[in-house]
């Protein structure tokens, strides 16, 4: 499956953070690349959504829904928002 970008997960992020997040700033925890969420690489593969750095391909965010509960992993990010 080919990647899309962070524009496609605006609704999901709004659900998690209760705010518009596609224009929020991010910094990759691995390489320090700084971009808005909209420009990150996104894989929409059920049951989870994986967000990667456009420069070094590190995993920045993972969203997985299990039994109606969303699990969020933001460990790959140095900065969000």
């Amino acid at each position: 499956m080919e990647a899309v970008d962070g524009n496609a997960i605006g609704g999901l992020l709004h659900e998690v953070f209760s705010a518009e997040m596609t224009s929020a700033a991010t910094v990759c925890g691995n390489c320090g690349d700084a971009r808005p969420v909209a420009e990150l690489v996104v894989y929409l593969r059920a049951p989870g959504t994986v967000v990667r750095c456009r420069t070094c391909d590190s995993v920045l965010m993972v969203f997985v829904t299990v039994h109606d509960r969303m699990c969020v992993d933001l460990q790959g990010l140095a900065v969000l928002g």
Partner: protein
Amino acid sequence: MAGTALRRRLTWQVAKVSAVTTETASVRTLTLDVPDWPGHQAGQHLDIRLTDEDGYVAERSYSIASAPGEPVAITVERLEDGEVSPYLTDELRTGDDLELRGPIGGYFIWEPEDGGPLLLLAGGSGVVPLRSILRLRERTGSTVPVRLLYSSRTLDDVIYRAELDQPARGVEVIHTLTRHQPSGWAGYARRADGVLLAEVAWPASEMPLAYACGPTSFVETVSQALVQSGYPPERVKTERFGATGGT
């Protein structure tokens, strides 16, 4: 107040299809009557949710095709292996209900005060949010100069063709047809890349604002070419929707 808008709750609601317009053999526009719509900005999205009899849920994000102030509309291309789009393009009828939430997004948007000149780059159905921008520009009487480069496979795949054939004053529409061209075609017949952009894009010295939307490979090619030609990266907004073979 911007803060209020940003903190607005995003809830699912049921809209009604008020009109269905055929754009091409595989693309339809759905006009929606959304009871609780706070208004949107040009370039924003909405999410559609379909639930089958077994409770299986599929969600997809679609760009809003209409300008702020117009009835909400989305334009959907049927993907042969799609979970959602074949239902929207083949099954849904006027009067049917559709579950959605929106508006969504704050990055790939344009407001008249953002100015220009505007360079709009569309690959296939990537033209949809750019059409919202064009209609907003016209509705608000903006005189920002615009060039739209629109890459399609064939002339029959061009979405909003009649509308784009009658552009507003100050808007230039440049087509390229990558797979097949009708006899006598005077437009471009090649993929959008740095060479083509060197011919059609505003020079970087004019401080243009660029919006590129389409399949991932299209957006990567044109956005990198613009940055190489001197566009500041923050003046090149991008939106990639994966591979559809649509350009």
